[in-house]
Each structure stands twice: as C-alpha cells, then as structure tokens.
C-alpha cells in the first residue's frame, strides 16, 4: 500500500471533474425530459394521423363501394331489360286485352293476330299461350282455346291456374274461379310453395275473393299453419331470420362518449348494448309504419288488374338471380356504401329470391320487404300479424340477450387508477379513493427516490482531506477542501429536495387531471345509463304493440258480403 499524498492540484482537478459531471448529468436529465416530451408529442401526432388515415381509408372504401354499386345497379337493370324486356310488352297485354274486352272496342281479329304474334316472339313463356286462350275464348274458338290452355298449363301449371282464377273472378264467374282455386290448392304443399302464392295472400287482404273461395283458403291456411307450427323446425328457421333482421337494424347508431371510450375497459360491450338498444325505436317505427298506412283501390276490377299485373310481372323465376344481385347493390346504395351492413340486410331478405318456400317463409318474405315480395302494405301487415307469435318470441330473446350483455358495472381505468361505477352515483366515494390512490403513489415514488448517500460520503471524504490538511498546517488547502465538501453536500441535498418537489408537483398535476377525467367519465356514465334506459323502454312499447296484433283484424272481409253471419 503506497502512502501517496493528494496534491492541491489533483484535488482541484477532482472538484472540477465532479462539478463537470454534475453539470453533465443535469444537462442529460434536461435532454431526457425534452426527448420524453418530444416522444409524447410524436406519439400523439402519430395516433391522430392514424385515426385520420383510418377514417380516410374507411370513407374511401365506402365511396368506392357506393360508386361500384351505382354502376352495377345500372348494369343489372340494363341486363334485365335486354334479356327480359320483351316479356314486359307481353305482360302489358294481359290487362290490356281484358280492358279492351271490357269496353268492346278491340276486334276479335286484332286480338287473335296480336296474341299469335306474341306466341311466336316469346317462346317458352307461359303467358303467351294464356293470352291466346283469352283471345280464343272471346271469339268462341273452342279448339284453339283448349290447345292453348293445355300449352299454358304445360309451360307453367300454377301460374296459369292462378291467372285464370283471377280472370274468372274479374269476369264475376265465381263458380269457375272457385274451381280454378280448388285446383290450385290441391297441388300445393305448405312446405314448398311457389313465390306467386303471395298473390293469394294479397287477394285475402284486398277482400276480392267470394265468400266460398275465402272459406276454402281460410281452411287450407289454418291447416297449414297448424302443420308448420306443430314442430320447432320451421318456426325456428323464421326466428333465425327475424334475429338477422333485428341485428341488421342495429349498428346504425354510434354512441358518443369520448371519455368512456378511452377509459372504460368494457367499452365495447357498452357500445354494443346501446347500439342494439337504439334499434328498438327503429323497429318500433318500422312496425308502426306497416300498420299505419294502407293502400286504397277503388274497385274490385282495378284490384284484380293490379293482382294480375303482379302475377305476370313479378314472379318469373329466370329473372331471380339477376334481381338478387340487383337487390344487394341497391342495399349498398341505401346504406351509403357500407357493404357489411348492406350484406346483412340483403342476407335477411335472401329467401325472397328462392323459387320455392314454405308457407311461414312466405309470410316472413312479405313482412320483410313487401316490394320485393310483390305485396302491398296491407298484406305485409297481415303477414306480420300472422307471424306475431314467433316475431315476439325472437324479439324478446334479442332484447334479453342485449340486456344481459350490457355490463352492470362500468370498469374505469384512469392513469393506472382502476374503479367501478354503475351510473356515476358513487362519485364522492370514487374521488376520495382516487385521492388515496395518488397519496399512495406519491409516497411510493418518494420512497423509491434514493437519498444521495454517495455524494454525502464524497463530501465527508473531502472534509476528511480538509482536516488532514489542517493537521499538516496547510490552512489554505483545508479551507478549499472544506468549501468543496460543503458545495458537494449542499448541491446533492438541494438536488434531492428538488427531485422530491418535482415528484410532489407531478403527482399533484396528475391528480388534478385524473380527477377531472374521473368526473367526466362519471358524468358520461350517468348519461349512458339514462340514454340506454330511454332506448330500452322502446322494447316494452314494441312488445306490447306486437302482442296486441290479431291476424283476423288485417285480413280484409270479402267485398261480396256486407254482413257477418254467426253460426253455432
């Protein structure tokens, strides 16, 4: 061990180095602070840019989807016109011939020539021979009439049968109309009805059938309903579709609670809950609208013409694939380019485009989209009223699932402080708990702050050097070392004090900010519960409305009788 004395110059150098290190550390601390600030700013800016970019991409995607859908709608309509345009001319002739025959101003020859030309120009189309039947019948040409009738039935038995049932009713030949109707029902199975069966429902709501025909239909329909609702299979399928329909009505409302969105851990459940609850009002309006409006037609002949027109125009199966595509793109336009929502909506209506459906499905189709199903509002109302038991059941389930999924407690997480509230009612309690949290945080941070023992030891060593210098009669060195020791000691204690003060100030700032955020969150929680309860109340209103529906109130009474005879 060498006894090397520390010279005055060396001590001075040590002191200079220590001061320099101290200054460097201060500068480094300052720079780290600036860097931290820059990083925070950068992260905030990046988050803002990301949000803007996401919005831009979403808007751009929607805009492009909308443009594409508009173009496609045009293309599909054009294709329908090109491929089936000629059918439209033939269709117009059906009611045209009848109205011509009503007035008696169209000659038999003209009718014969025109209908025969149609037969040549529309090969395979069932309506062409059906028109020849009418023309042949009007001029009493039995041979041609029978041949044409056989051909029309061969091409499409059910449509031809319905067509002549309606024509016989229009001509007020009730017996013949009833026979055609009996023939039609004999061939129908409630498990596989053709789409045109909807015309029968339409006729019921319009009250155009004679009492005998109406009785026949009522009997069949009651029997079918009993058969189909006996097991769960068919009703469950309808319920599934109504669930999709209810879901398609959700997701249009965007709850705005910025603080809860940022600080509630279970925000996604809360948002979904309010979105679903918002659909109750939409559904209530939707159903109320169905039962509010009714179409009005002046005479039975006019109503029958409308039905005939529907039968010949809206139920040709070969057009269905194109019409389905067209509908999807129309949904995209209706939903302003939101493809996901449009697809859910189109999926809910998908069964409308099936060639054969069961009777319950037919009711659902009429209830979902009367225009596509080819019915008026009154028939839609009848379909909803007939289906009300499973619509109500499914709506009850939809509402109960939603009520169950909305969290009772809102879990908040603010700057590391975690707490729960239902609707902001425990504000005082939470503010006190938050105060305690920050008190504990401050205490733990202060505990974690190291006391500058090393600097104090250094100061003691330097002071020891000063005593050694005094013993060796070097007062100047002693004086300098004492000053250095005091400086080191004072500097380190001062720095420690400043750090403590900074921690206290930082925590106070955090506490102030977090307290404001907590109050904001609790205010939003109160609004959320209030808004949710208001929206949820519509579910009760809609349920009461649905359970009050009676199918018999919406089936129009026959125009042929003005009184009801009660029999025991």
């Amino acid at each position: 061990m060498s006894n090397q004395a520390i010279s005055f110059t060396q001590l001075a150098a040590i002191q200079t180095t220590l001061v320099s290190i101290n200054n460097n550390v201060k500068v480094a601390h300052k720079e780290i602070g600036v860097l931290q600030q820059n990083q925070d700013n950068f992260e905030n800016e990046l988050a803002r840019l990301y949000a803007e970019f996401s919005d831009f991409v979403a808007n751009d995607t929607r805009h492009k989807a909308l443009q594409l859908a508009e173009t496609r709608v045009g293309n599909f309509r054009q294709e329908l016109q090109i491929r089936f345009g000629y059918y439209a001319d033939v269709r117009k002739m059906a009611t045209g011939i009848l109205q011509g025959a009503d007035t008696g101003i169209v000659s038999d020859t003209s009718l014969q020539l025109t209908t025969e030309e149609v037969m040549i120009k529309a090969p395979g189309y069932w309506l062409a021979p059906a028109l020849i039947v009418i023309a042949g019948w009007l001029r009493n040409d039995t041979a041609v009439t029978e041949k044409a009738l056989a051909e029309a039935i061969r091409r499409n038995d059910y449509k031809t049968t319905l067509f002549f049932m309606l024509i016989m009713r229009r001509l007020d030949r009730r017996e013949a109309s009833l026979k055609w109707l009996e023939r039609y029902f004999l061939h129908q199975s409630p498990h596989a009805l053709n789409r045109e069966f909807i015309v029968i429902l339409e006729g019921i709501t319009l009250g155009i059938f004679s009492p005998a025909s109406r009785q026949l239909m009522d009997n069949y329909i009651k029997e079918w309903m009993a058969a189909l609702t006996n097991g769960d299979q068919f009703v469950e399928e309808q319920k599934r579709q109504w669930r999709l329909f209810f879901l398609a009505m959700s997701g249009r409302h965007h709850p705005a609670y910025p603080l809860l969105e940022k600080h509630a851990d279970n925000w996604s459940l809360l948002r979904e809950g309010e979105q679903n609850a918002a659909s109750y009002e939409l559904l209530q309006t939707h159903f109320a609208e169905i039962f509010k409006s009714s179409d009005h037609y002046s005479s039975v002949a006019e109503q029958l013409d409308i039905l005939l027109n529907k039968l010949v125009t809206e139920f040709d199966d070969e057009e269905l694939p194109l019409r389905e595509q067209l509908r999807l793109n129309e949904c995209i336009i209706e939903e302003d380019g939101n493809v996901a929502v449009a697809r859910v909506k189109a999926d809910a209506e998908k069964n409308i485009f099936q060639e054969q459906v069961d009777f319950l499905q037919l009711l659902t189709n009429a209830a979902f989209n009367p225009e596509l199903a080819g019915v008026n509002r009154a028939t839609q109302a009848l379909a909803v009223a007939t289906s009300q038991s499973w619509i109500t059941e499914e709506f009850d389930t939809f509402v109960a699932i939603n009520r169950q999924s909305v969290p009772l407690e809102i879990n908040l997480s603010i700057d590391g402080f975690k707490c729960q509230t239902r609707g902001g009612e425990n504000e005082q309690e939470l503010l006190v708990t938050q105060e305690l949290y920050y008190d504990n945080l401050r205490a733990s941070r202060l505990r974690a702050l190291d006391f500058p023992y090393m600097e104090i030891i250094t100061a003691i060593v330097v002071a020891g050097g000063g005593i050694w210098a005094l013993v060796n009669h070097q007062p100047l060195v002693c004086c300098i070392l004492s000053i250095v020791a005091v400086l080191i000691c004072w500097n380190s204690i001062d720095s420690h004090g400043k750090k403590k003060k900074k921690i206290v100030e930082d925590i106070a700032g955090q506490r102030q900010k977090a307290s404001e955020v907590l109050r904001g969150c609790l205010a939003e929680a109160t609004h959320y519960r209030h808004n949710y309860a208001q929206k949820d109340e519509h579910a009760t209103g809609l349920r009461n409305f649905l359970t009050s529906l009676q199918a018999s109130e919406y089936a129009g009474s026959s125009r042929d009788t003005s009184r009801t005879i009660l029999t025991n």
Partner: protein, 90 residues
C-alpha cells in the same frame, strides 16, 4: 318437495334449475335474492357489492330489470320469466 313436484312435474334432478333469482325490493344495499324451487321462499338476500355464486352471476342484470319477474338458472341455459308469465330461453 311437493311444491317442487307441482312446479316441475316429473323432471329429473339434472333438469331442475340450479337457482332462481329475482329483484329484491328491500332497498339498498340489497338488490337481488335467490328463491327456493317453488319460487315462494327467499333463501338469501344479496347486497349490491356482494358477488353471487359464479354460475348465477350471469343472471344478475336480467333479474334486476323491471321487465322480468324471475330468472331461472340452469346448467346450460337461463329462462327469463316476463311479468306476463311468458318465458324467454337464453
């Protein structure tokens, strides 16, 4: 036992509800209570902050809703009874 038999007929033990829960009208701090299988006797009142047994907790928010009178908790489903007596299977 007689009440249970009247209520649930010949149902086996497996198909009986694990619990029946309803809103408690005693007021704060109580919010729900469990009932016996005849839904006539209250078994236990639960306070707002008091957790229900895990398998019943999922029925708490439904039991609290004013639209429902009771909620039956089964191993694989919940049956919610409306005020008008109709049932909803979940």
């Amino acid at each position: 036992m007689k009440v249970i038999e009247e209520e649930f007929g010949t149902a086996g033990l497996q198909s009986l509800p694990l619990a029946i829960i309803a809103k408690c009208y005693l007021g704060a701090p109580y919010e729900v209570h469990t009932l016996d299988l005849g839904a006539q006797m209250i078994i236990h009142h639960y306070k707002r902050s008091e957790p229900l047994p895990t398998y019943i907790e999922k029925a708490r928010s439904l039991a609290l809703h004013h639209a429902y009178s009771i909620v039956e908790v089964y191993t694989d489903q919940l049956i919610v009874i409306n005020d008008d007596g109709s049932a909803i299977k979940l």
